[in-house]
């Protein structure tokens, strides 16, 4: 029997391993934002208002080199446009929720919360209280992100770079991607995205990542359609 309470706690529990990768990322963001010349209060407010790790890193970096506000805003927008696809992917499952729920879940819709929520929805026989699972996973990540960026801001430059804690982030991504490669079209999508990310690395505004991701999606989709037709 699933209740809102058990779903919420299940979401929190499933998010915990992901938090191991989030803590160092948050710490480094805090340290990095201060070194970019962002005042502590604004650095923490960014975690609360923007709440998107990779965009926050890029904003800090652009501020450090004196980029005008408009370019910073445009670049952050490009990096966060991927959330449009997360939103579309979850929409079929959240249609019956109230406006307040939709606003709350939208605010919490990060890469990490999306990954947990979509796998829960895809497994669910009955959607029932699955939005409580999403809320649990999202709030666990939110709390962890606020606390770890606050700790990073507090610690300042205390963490030696030789610890290479930033590497925990790509490792987290690996842990999420590899088990998801269940068929040939997913694997082809991942490999082509990776290859094009390397080839397009020099493009400005972090555009290489967007180009690579879109190419990977196109390759996966094209192969799937081709294989379905042949079958």
């Amino acid at each position: 029997m699933t209740t809102p309470r058990s779903e919420f706690l299940h979401g929190v529990r499933d998010e915990l391993p992901i938090l191991i990768g989030t803590v160092p990322f948050g710490l480094i963001y805090g340290v990095f934002a201060l070194s970019a010349g962002i005042p502590p209060l604004i650095a923490q407010a960014m975690s609360c208002i923007v709440f998107a790790g990779s965009a926050q890193f890029v904003i800090a970096q652009l501020v450090a080199v004196g980029t005008p506000a408009l370019i910073v805003i445009l670049t952050a927008f490009i990096i966060n446009i991927r959330h449009l696809l997360y939103s579309a992917s979850l929409a079929p499952f959240t249609g019956r929720l109230s406006r307040l729920w939709k606003w709350l879940l939208a605010y919490l819709l990060t890469d990490e919360a999306y990954a947990m929520a979509i796998s829960r929805y895809q497994k669910a026989q009955d959607e029932g209280p699955a939005h409580w699972y999403f809320l649990g996973a999202g709030l666990a990540l939110w709390t962890c992100w606020q606390l770890s960026t606050a700790a990073g801001i507090f610690l300042g430059g205390q963490i030696p770079a030789s610890w290479s804690l930033d590497f925990a982030l790509p490792l987290t991504f690996i842990a999420l991607v590899v088990p998801a490669l269940k068929d040939r079209s997913s694997t082809a999508a991942a490999l082509s995205a990776a290859l094009i990310a390397l080839l397009a690395f020099a493009l400005p505004l972090k555009l290489g990542i967007a180009v690579a991701a879109l190419s990977g999606i196109a390759v996966g989709l094209a192969l799937e359609i081709k294989w379905i037709k042949r079958a």
């Binding site: 391993p17 191991i20 005042p39 604004i42 407010a45 208002i49 923007v50 709440f51 998107a52 904003i59 506000a69 805003i73 952050a76 927008f77 966060n80 991927r82 959330h83 449009l84 696809l85 939103s87 579309a88 992917s89 929409a91 079929p92 959240t94 019956r96 406006r99 939709k102 606003w103 939208a106 605010y107 030789s162 290479s164 590497f167 925990a168 982030l169 790509p170 490792l171 987290t172 991504f173 690996i174 842990a175 999420l176 991607v177 590899v178 088990p179 998801a180 490669l181 079209s185 997913s186 999508a189 995205a193 094009i196 990310a197 390397l198 290489g208 991701a213 990977g216 999606i217 996966g220």
Partner: protein
């Protein structure tokens, strides 16, 4: 950038990000997403994350480092193997980090 412009920047980025995240949830919640888009969405996490992983392993310092002295590449390959065999997030991160730190202690600085 002055503090005022920093505040304006993060508030605008925050609103844009929230708007992007809310878009389909709020306005198309009851509509069905087109089947082709639905099919394409399945590949989004895998493609985006792979596009972030590859440069982190192979372009650690801004230039392509396809060699056995690239400790991030070796640690990443081990992590891929661990993730494939165990599907365990925590173990993947722990062994990947341990491998990186050990390699960094023994490989020449780069």
């Amino acid at each position: 950038m002055s503090s005022l412009w920093l505040w304006i920047t993060i508030v605008v980025v925050g609103l844009l990000t929230f708007g992007i995240r809310l878009s389909f949830l709020a306005f198309l919640g009851k509509k069905q997403v087109a089947p082709l888009l639905q099919q394409a969405l399945r590949f989004v996490p895998v493609a985006v994350l792979s596009a972030l992983i590859a440069p982190a392993l192979l372009i650690p310092n801004g230039t392509l480092a396809l060699s056995f002295t690239n400790s991030r590449l070796l640690a990443g390959l081990l992590a891929i193997l661990v993730a494939w065999r165990t599907k365990n997030v925590l173990l993947t991160i722990a062994l990947g980090m341990a491998c990186l730190l050990i390699l960094q202690a023994f490989l020449p600085a780069h």
